[in-house]
């Protein structure tokens, strides 16, 4: 992000503060990071950065504190979106963990999985798929089509870019019409991570434009978690309104 934009964002944040105190500061939009017996946080600060970007460009009020949550944590049930990050294979989850994650997703939660191992189907992704098949034995892990609403929930995006571009698509698990699990292999968190001085921690393979597009993908994912297929509905509204013959010509 350029310094000028950063300053604009700072100014906008100050100007945009609503006169009313937000109802339940603790109740702002938060994102959890799943803690498990592996390298669960390979890109510290990344989630905070994408949350800041989301608050800057959208109307969502966020809590920028990264919530690291175990499946046994009661706070999990205050946070319907959970990131699951890693860069290596990990040991299978316990049955309790699997059961809780299944219940979490069935109740309306969403999992965003990001692999930092730099491979399309690397050790972390394979471990995740193994666990997803335990969570939903009867569901497929399928490619999210390019016309899916996750690619247009806020920005119009053509590819799910991250720090890398090892995979041109994301995978997903569906719960009816909703994608409840999103799986990316392009190290999106790597593109978002900064150090305490504001410097990017990792270079993007396609340069800063790729980083910008990666942030857009992050914003879209967070927006999708809150609005689901709202954007898909938008195109139908003229038709829905038009078909209603409720007025005398």
């Amino acid at each position: 992000m350029h310094r000028r934009n950063f300053l604009k964002a700072m100014g906008a944040t100050l100007l945009a503060a609503p006169s009313a105190q937000a109802m339940g500061e603790e109740d702002r939009y938060s994102v959890g990071l799943l803690e498990y017996s592996g390298n669960f946080n390979p890109r510290p600060t990344a989630l905070r950065r994408v949350l800041l970007e989301t608050e800057k460009v959208t109307n969502i009020r966020v809590n920028t504190n990264e919530l690291i949550l175990k499946t046994s944590d009661q706070n999990l049930w205050n946070t319907p979106i959970l990131f699951w990050a890693g860069d290596r294979k990990f040991a299978p989850f316990s049955e309790d963990q699997i059961s809780i994650l299944r219940r979490y997703l069935q109740a309306g939660g969403m999992l965003v999985i990001d692999s930092s191992d730099g491979l399309e189907d690397g050790p972390f992704t394979q471990s995740v798929k193994r666990e997803l098949l335990r969570i939903f034995p009867d569901r497929n892990i399928a490619r999210i089509p390019k016309d899916h609403v996750v690619y247009k929930s806020f920005y119009l995006i053509e590819a799910p870019l991250g720090r890398l571009t090892v995979s041109p698509h994301m995978l997903g698990v569906w719960d009816d019409e909703r994608v409840s699990v999103v799986l990316s292999s392009n190290d999106m968190l790597g593109a978002w991570a900064r150090d305490s001085f504001g410097n990017w921690l990792y270079e993007c393979s396609g340069g800063e434009r790729q980083r910008d597009l990666s942030f857009r993908m992050g914003v879209n994912l967070l927006m999708y978690s809150l609005c689901i297929n709202y954007k898909a509905d938008q195109v139908h509204i003229p038709f829905i309104l038009g078909r209603r013959k409720w007025k005398v010509d």
Partner: protein
């Protein structure tokens, strides 16, 4: 000797049982014998040869005759008379009188029958006549009863009558049919065939299937009428609320020229719309269409009327009543959200998954305060269509949800009166809390505040409270369908105490006098009473609700962390939607009437269903049914003195009452039951009217009768002319006496044969041939 005068018919019979092959063989054999004889006799002189050949041929011929055994069948026969039904149309249209004080069609029809000159015995040399009236049914009457025949049958279906004639006389021979009618056919034939059109194929097959001439006598002159009639009204039996409804009307105008007619559509005696048209010379049919949008559920009685002009033949066909039931197709919900949030997301998901809800959502995804470096072409954002949603299309919704939405930034102030008016006219409205809602949404002092069931504080004071809390049900809340998540009030209270806590609330002032508070804050006060959290109310025709938190989603998701389901969340919001749109299913007392309309003198079956507050059947409960009657001519007037019926529900909570409808009119049925928690009532109505299709089109149709006669080679005349009937001669005969005389079985034939043989033998000997 046989007396020839005893027999008037005879035939030759061949009794020998020889087949054609045998006869051909014998013929060939005879010819061969004659050929051989001719050859054998060729030396003889010519006359001798032919004499002998002639004798031999004669003998052979006689022998063959004896083999074939000829006989004469003598009979005394008489003809069997065929049957001729004479059909007289006794429908109501025959009672009409043409303009100018002429005789009625009935009088003309009787005169036409007399002019046929039927014998008193209804039989002549060839035919037996049957005098039959048709209208309700085909009924045979004696000739003498014709003068007392009444013309009041409700219909005149010529096609069905001819089919019935064919069935009734299928075992005898028909010589023809005589049809005396004005031709106003209420069956399919009359409507299928217009004046300038030929008989359609179906009608052709029908009339031809009798196989006899159909003679028709047309009664009435179509040119001497003056009548304005609502011939046909096309309407649906039910319509959807807030959906455009069309009523198509066909008006027939006869005997008018240049008059301006105003057709009216009325609902319950109140004028809805008018349509004007001018009658043109030579044009009798006028199609007009009414369109309106029903705003309320339930049955209503509509009337289409045209004015009554002077000297009209009939006035009763200038009005047509019908009942239309307005139902709901889908609940049309507009969800407007000021900021994406989990509360919005879970509610939207619930609404989207409900197949009975047609949801349109609008979320404010960004505001002018947000900073985006990407060009608009890389964003999927669209402008907020305030004009379309809150003005032009507002009336298409059943329910509006303002969820954490502040109208201020979107130049919407001018639409707030429309929203308030939408609610007062019967729409539903719910405001859900959040930092952009209630007082913080800027609604204080606006028309929207006027329709809210609570009052708003000014923004100068504290407007939100961030402490966690669990809403506490009020006494009303334990039983209200929105907050009743368990049947038993105590269990319901306990259930609410176990729901996840809310993380803060908007602060509101006390509830309005007309509102019902369902749940309150456990600590905050408003006007000295616990602050309302969930409040409902009815304002004019509409219903409103407020919930001052933005955390109801926790009843779904957070509760899942405890291993529970989202049942309570789903029940709460589904019940909210149903209550706000006045779903009839939520009525504890319901009156149902199966029929829209019954004929005067009949009864309507009224079913009353009573439920307890927990929606279990309420058995053995007494109530009263109040039936009010308003005549069709005075629907706008107060009803006549009501009739009351007491009832008691059975074990299923159901009571069935037969309500008589002695005369035409609209019957409003109100059920009332006193219950421990208050009085319940519900209403329904039904129509009682005599439908007379005969009067929907009273124009005589001589053209139709002529087409029938022409197609069946029958005669057609218009009364008072007398027709020359075309009837088939009887084809069947009756044999009174019969004798068969066998010609071959006699000595005379045998002697001739023997004589011829002897002669041939003698001549052959004499002429030197052995």
């Amino acid at each position: 000797m046989l007396p020839s005068f005893e027999y008037n018919s005879g035939d030759v019979l061949w009794l020998g049982n020889w087949g054609p092959i045998w006869i051909a063989g014998i013929t060939i054999l005879g010819l061969a014998i004659l050929a051989l004889s001719a050859y054998d006799l060729s030396p003889l002189p010519r006359y001798r040869r032919f004499t002998l050949l002639g004798l031999r041929a004669s003998v052979f011929g006689l022998a063959v005759m004896m083999l074939l055994e000829p006989a004469v069948d003598l009979k005394n026969v008489t003809k069997v008379k065929n049957h001729v039904p004479v059909l007289i149309d006794t429908s109501l249209s025959m009672s009409l009188t043409a303009t100018g004080n002429a005789d009625s069609r009935a009088v003309l029809a009787k005169a036409a029958i007399e002019s046929l000159g039927l014998p008193e015995s209804l039989t002549d040399d060839n035919h037996i006549y049957h005098l039959l009236t048709f209208g309700s049914a085909l009924e045979e009457i004696p000739l003498g009863a014709l003068k007392d025949t009444t013309f009041d049958a409700p219909s005149s279906d010529i096609g069905a009558t001819l089919v019935e004639v064919k069935r009734r006389y299928q075992d005898v021979e028909l010589g023809g049919v005589v049809l005396v009618s004005d031709g106003t056919d209420t069956g399919g034939m009359g409507s299928r065939i217009r004046k300038d059109e030929a008989l359609d194929e179906t009608s052709q097959n029908l009339v031809a299937s009798l196989g006899i001439p159909i003679n028709t006598v047309a009664i009435g002159d179509p040119t001497s009428l003056r009548d304005l009639a609502i011939k046909r009204v096309k309407h649906d039996d039910f319509a959807f609320v807030r959906n455009k409804v069309s009523v198509d009307v066909e008006v027939q105008a006869i005997g008018f020229d240049g008059e301006v007619v105003q057709a009216r559509l009325e609902r319950a005696g109140v004028l809805l719309q008018t349509r004007d048209f001018t009658i043109e010379p030579g044009k009798t049919r006028y199609d007009i269409s009414f369109e309106f949008v029903p705003q309320q559920l339930g049955r209503e009685v509509y009337a289409v009327k045209v004015p009554v002009f002077e000297n009209e033949v009939l006035e009763s066909n200038n009005v047509f009543h019908f009942v239309q039931r307005v139902i709901r197709d889908k609940i049309r919900v507009l969800q407007v959200v000021g900021r994406p949030s989990w509360d919005e997301r879970f509610l939207r998901q619930l609404l989207k998954r409900n197949p009975n809800i047609d949801l349109i959502s609008f979320f404010i995804l960004r505001t002018n305060e947000n900073l985006i470096s990407a060009p608009n072409s890389e964003l999927s954002l669209i402008p907020f269509p305030t004009e379309e949603l809150f003005s032009t299309e507002l009336g298409s919704f059943d329910l509006i949800v303002f969820q954490n939405f502040n109208f201020g930034p979107y130049a919407m102030r001018q639409y707030l009166p429309d929203i308030a008016q939408f609610v007062r006219k019967g729409g539903g409205f719910v405001m859900i809390g959040g930092e952009l809602s209630f007082a913080d949404g800027g609604y204080a002092g606006t028309p929207v505040e006027d329709i809210l069931p609570i009052q708003l504080p000014s923004t100068a004071t504290k407007t939100v409270d961030l402490a966690h809390f669990r809403p506490m049900l009020t006494e009303a809340g334990t039983r209200h369908p929105i907050t009743q998540l368990a049947f038993d009030p105590t269990s319901n209270q306990q259930l609410w105490e176990t729901l996840p806590a809310q993380h803060g609330t908007n602060i509101v002032k006390e509830a309005r006098p007309w509102a019902t508070v369902l749940a309150t804050h456990p600590r905050l006060k408003a006007g000295g009473k616990p602050m309302p959290v969930i409040t409902v109310g009815e304002i004019d025709e509409g219903r409103v609700m407020t919930i001052t938190t933005d955390g109801s989603w926790r009843w779904s998701f957070e509760r899942a962390g405890d291993g529970a389901t989202a049942r309570e969340y789903q029940m709460f919001w589904n019940n909210t939607m149903r209550w706000l749109i006045k779903d009839p299913e939520l009525k504890l007392l319901r009156v149902e009437i199966e029929q829209d309309s019954v004929a005067p003198g009949q009864t309507a079956q009224v079913t009353v269903r009573l439920q307890n507050p927990d929606y279990t059947p309420a058995p053995d409960t007494k109530g009263i049914l109040i039936v009010s009657h308003r005549p069709l001519e005075h629907l706008e007037s107060p009803p006549l003195e009501p009739t009351k019926f007491e009832f008691q529900t059975d074990a299923r909570g159901v009571a069935v009452i037969e309500v008589p409808a002695p005369s035409s009119g609209v019957y409003e049925v109100v059920a009332e039951v006193q219950r421990p928690h208050g009085a319940l009532s519900d209403r329904e109505l039904f129509l009682s009217t005599l439908t007379t299709p005969e009067f929907s089109d009273i124009l005589p149709r001589p053209d139709l009768l002529e087409k029938i006669s022409t197609h069946t080679q029958g005669a057609f005349v218009s009364a008072p002319k007398t027709p020359t009937l075309v009837l088939k001669e009887p084809q069947a005969v009756q044999v009174n006496k019969r004798v068969v005389i066998q010609l071959w079985d006699s000595f005379f034939v045998f002697a001739i044969t023997l004589g011829l043989l002897l002669t041939e033998w003698a001549l052959r000997r004499r002429w030197g041939r052995l």
